[in-house]
């Protein structure tokens, strides 16, 4: 028996840590410009909170694109559905949300989140079956039909809940802020960061430690081979699509509470940011999406404070800069 090519040295196995340093570097660079530590801390936390919500909204989109090459411009519909679910769920639970106790508030918030996720997932299922499935592999049609789906979803929400902006108030114990070294730290932002981190860790665990996760990663790289190994990629895809919709619904609900208002075009408005985030991160990469979300949101907050005039274009500039450095995003997938 020939023991050829056992290799002499272990192949290089570097983790690519440069992208991870980017948000840290951005925060560090922003500090001297902002000056006061308390202001910097407030802006940084606001950025991270927003980043985590964008991450929840965008993570499903990047997987859906990575796995099936599907460009879903209707993803915002799930965000809006989640936002309305906050209102729908909070109305009967008013007694819980108005109690001045965090644990009682969470008793309302957690079921509301689960309801938002379940509903968005169900809407996602219908969306996939009705709109996405007939146009597999046809990008132009995907863009048109999913944009159409978004419009139909928005109009349905208007028809159900009226066209006005609906105010939404945070559960009592989540209002206001905590004092932290002279800086005011909004409680709800802390919660958003915690929820975002939980989502990220769950996704990482699922993608790296479970067979379904391995299948998703393998499918993102080569779906033909996944099928040749005997797995039905379509079934996997609809699962991913629904999970991604659920996360978008969760993000939409968190976002509505953050803005303390609900309206049907919220989802559509977030689509530009979510696309920027998944392009920066590298299409199909959840880790890249996470870092991209943090970068984009931090920049919005720092730029909004320092140079409000460029705040609006700052994300485009960031995207251009990242793509000049890594043309296929921070964590490009090997096969694309």
């Amino acid at each position: 028996m020939t023991a050829i090519d056992a290799g002499t040295a272990l192949p290089r196995q570097k983790t690519d840590f440069w992208p991870i340093l980017l948000p840290l570097a951005m925060a560090a660079i922003a500090w001297p410009f902002i000056g006061a530590f308390s202001t910097w801390l407030t802006l940084t936390l606001a950025g991270l909170a927003m980043g985590m919500m964008i991450f929840a909204m965008a993570s499903g989109l990047t997987l859906v694109f990575g796995l099936m090459d599907v460009l879903n411009f209707g993803h915002g519909a799930f965000i809006s559905v989640g936002a309305y679910l906050a209102m729908v769920a909070f109305t009967p639970l008013a007694a819980f949300t108005q109690a001045d106790s965090l644990s009682i508030n969470l008793l309302a918030l957690v079921p509301a989140m689960l309801l938002a996720m379940a509903t968005s997932a169900a809407v996602g299922y219908v969306f996939e079956r009705l709109l996405v499935r007939p146009v597999y592999g046809q990008h132009l049609k995907q863009i048109l039909i999913t944009m159409g789906g978004l419009i139909v979803a928005e109009q349905t929400l208007y028809a159900l809940f009226g066209p006005q902006i609906i105010p939404l108030s945070l559960p009592t114990a989540l209002r206001g802020s905590l004092e932290f070294g002279g800086a005011a730290v909004e409680k709800y932002r802390l919660l958003a960061v915690v929820v975002g981190l939980i989502v990220f860790l769950c996704l990482q665990f699922m993608l790296n430690r479970t067979k379904i996760g391995l299948l998703i990663r393998a499918g993102v790289e080569n779906k033909e081979m996944v099928e040749a190994l005997g797995y039905r990629i379509r079934r996997l895809f609809i699962g991913v699509f629904m999970a991604g919709s659920a996360l978008a619904g969760l993000g939409g609900m968190m976002w509505a509470l953050y803005r303390e208002q609900v309206h049907a075009s919220m989802g559509g408005e977030m689509m530009v940011l979510t696309f920027i985030v998944i392009i920066i991160g590298g299409l199909g990469s959840v880790g890249g999406c996470f870092i991209g979300s943090a970068l984009v949101a931090l920049l919005v907050n720092y730029a909004g404070f320092l140079v409000p005039k460029i705040a609006l274009v700052s994300n485009i500039l960031l995207m251009v800069a990242v793509l000049l450095w890594r043309p296929r995003g921070l964590y490009p997938l090997s096969s694309r």
Binding site: M1, T2, A3, I4, D5, A6, G7, L10, P11, R12, Q13, K211, L214, L215, R217, A218, V220, E221, N222, E224, M225, V226, E227, A228, L229, G230, Y231, R232, I233, L333, S334, S335
Partner: protein
């Protein structure tokens, strides 16, 4: 004559508007290694992909283990007991060696004994067990791709040009492996440009040309008949010997 495990008859395949296979007839008997030879572009890869359902046969039938499979979807064909080692190897480079094999073992965690058997001829896989498959050398990737096909027992293994682009030393290791797979009783349909490999491991041979099988018989007969080799496979073979 042993039982026929796989039989293609009159298989036509179109890719887009190109008519690639023009009525392929081919059998792979149980427990034997059948070589599929032919010049570049003859349609060998297309034949394997058609068997796997990755291209759809536009005409003709494919029988495997007593059932017609030409209408089935790829995952169902794989589950019927066919493993595929594509020309491109198609390892999942973002996954570790272990994870690649975990996915290939549909029935549960890979069997320890079988892994030991595989490590016996592919020690590199044990060594790089937890490394990302993308960091492996070309030869090691080929080993992983073959290991994926044999990590669980399959009735039929389709292998497409495993020695392409590999150094002679690795080719020797692959020949050992192919013989070992054969000894274990597997049925193999092997596409190979390297005539020496074909000679060493093939029991039977089919030669393709322009989307048809133009010759079939015992490998030993073809190996002994240089005129026939020249006529069927062309002079390009000399460079491989």
């Amino acid at each position: 004559m042993s039982d026929t495990l796989l039989a293609l008859s009159g298989v036509h395949t179109h890719i887009g508007r190109y008519h690639i296979l023009h009525g392929v007839d081919l059998v792979a008997p149980q427990g034997r290694t059948t070589m599929l030879l032919g010049r570049n572009g003859a349609g060998k890869t297309t034949t394997l992909r058609t068997i796997m359902g990755l291209w759809r046969a536009s005409q003709g039938s494919i029988h495997f283990d007593g059932a017609a499979i030409e209408g089935l979807a790829t995952p169902d064909i794989a589950q019927a007991g066919i493993a595929y080692v594509p020309e491109t190897m198609a390892i999942f480079s973002d996954l570790t060696v272990r994870e690649n094999l975990v996915l290939a073992a549909r029935g549960g965690p890979p069997d320890e004994k079988r892994l030991e058997w595989i490590f016996g001829f592919f020690p590199a896989l044990r060594k790089f067990w937890l490394s990302r498959a993308g960091t492996l050398s070309g030869g090691q990737k080929q080993m992983l791709s073959i290991a994926r096909a044999i990590v669980e027992e399959r009735k039929l293994i389709l292998i497409d040009e495993p020695t392409k682009g590999l150094s002679p030393a690795i080719v020797v290791a692959l020949i050992d492996c192919l013989k070992e797979i054969k000894r274990a009783g597997a049925t193999v349909l092997l596409v190979e440009q390297n005539f020496r490999v074909a000679q060493e491991v093939g029991d039977l041979v089919c030669v393709m040309e322009s989307g048809r099988v133009v010759h079939h018989g015992a490998m030993a007969d073809l190996a002994a008949d240089e005129m026939l080799q020249r006529r069927l496979l062309g002079l390009s073979l000399d460079s491989h010997q």
